[in-house]
Amino acid sequence: MLELKGITKKFGGKTILDGVNLTVEDGKILTIVGPSGAGKTTLLRCISGLEEVDSGEFVLDGQTFDPATNRDNDSVIGVVFQDYQLFPNLTVLQNVTLAPTMVLKQSAIDAKKEAKRLLDQLNLGDKADLYPYELSGGQKQRVAIVRALAMHPKLLCYDEPTSALDPDLRREVQQIIVKLRDEGITQIVVTHDIPFAEAIADQMMRVEPKD
């Protein structure tokens, strides 16, 4: 379970997040919705440790932790970026196995086996040896999801997962997120797409722009 207590983030003199409290239960989907500029992405970046917060506390499974500095334990938070940010110089398989071999010190064989299993699960079995530029937008997104999953995150975050997808692919990513929930993966989805958020959410949180 992840809890945020009084998370505050300022850029310069502007307060973007003002004492945000939220709780995500294990194996649930929390969607964060709100208009552009409301700080949804900033909140996600704070949770994933890409931004340092000015005040507030993160509690994961009863223990306080700082996502921005605490990079060495197992409480990994996976992120699927809006523009995916796959590594263009690596094949799909290498994109997925890079971190498990280098960070988790898995053997190349184990990492590959695990990657193939996850790729198959998301219908990417035949794409393992392609480079990212050879994939469609939806396929890139699924690779980004597999890459994050291969690190066994306790929590998986998505930044605007539907923004670049057409309606069919939107349904597909919806199915994937729900399927992962059924497998027990805790997920946070930031989106401005309200119908999508309502379709997948166990909990919904609205953020509004601060003046």
């Binding site: 890409l50 996976g78 263009p88 960070v103 480079y131 994050a148 690190m151």
Partner: protein, 213 residues
């Protein structure tokens, strides 16, 4: 024809010097250029100022002048180089500056998202550089590096100024002795062959990196 085969041995020995300057400069300057290029991007201001001054000096004065300074100037303050070492030292200093500028440009072209995506996967800075950033930078800078490499083949002829016997000097000696332009024709052909090989190698490298975009 007979004359050509007579002067060829001395030209080939001069080519040896040219190639030796060429290879050592490449082997040392390219990695150094990457390091200095990375140094330009640090937030530690004194380091970036130092690098800026260094690059300004190296790009702002002729390589010929730098060679003269290293060999004839540095002994005044007690640093004495052998001719060959002086040449290598000057070439490495000069080319590292150019390579560093090229790599800096390449580094700037890598989106922040690539670093962030590596960070959330918990890769270290060094792993991120080695596996993700540098391969992408190399692909971007390859054409510019290629230009410098071709330039270096020809710039190496400047070592005559401190009395080293390279290809051009060997041709010059033969020309003065035999009062004919013929050796220079051969010299030109040898330079063309050398740059042709460089061009081929560079094309192969670019082809290798075209597997991904």
């Amino acid at each position: 024809m007979h004359y050509f085969s007579e002067i060829l041995p001395s030209l080939i020995s001069g080519t040896g010097m040219t190639l030796s300057i060429f290879f050592w400069t490449i082997i040392v300057s390219v990695p150094l250029g990457i390091l200095v290029g990375l140094g330009m991007k640090t937030k530690f201001k004194p380091l970036t100022w130092l690098i800026d001054i260094y690059v300004w000096l190296m790009r702002g004065t002729p390589l010929l002048l730098q060679l003269i300074f290293v060999f004839y100037g540095l002994p005044i303050i007690g640093i004495v180089f052998q001719r060959y070492d002086a040449a290598l030292f000057a070439f490495i200093l000069n080319y590292t500056a150019y390579f560093a500028e090229i790599f800096r440009g390449g580094l700037q072209a890598i989106p922040v998202g690539q670093y962030e995506s590596a960070r959330v996967l918990r890769l270290t800075r060094w792993q991120t550089l080695r596996k993700i950033v540098i391969p992408q930078v190399v692909k971007i800078v390859l054409p510019s590096i290629g230009n410098e490499v071709i330039n270096l083949v020809k710039d190496s002829s400047l070592v005559y100024v401190i009395g080293l016997g390279d290809l051009l000097r060997a041709g010059n000696v033969a020309m003065a002795r035999d009062v004919t332009i013929a050796p220079m024709l051969l010299v030109g052909i040898i330079y063309l062959l050398l740059t042709a090989v460089c061009t081929l190698v560079l094309h192969q490298l670019e082809k290798h990196y075209s597997a991904w975009r």
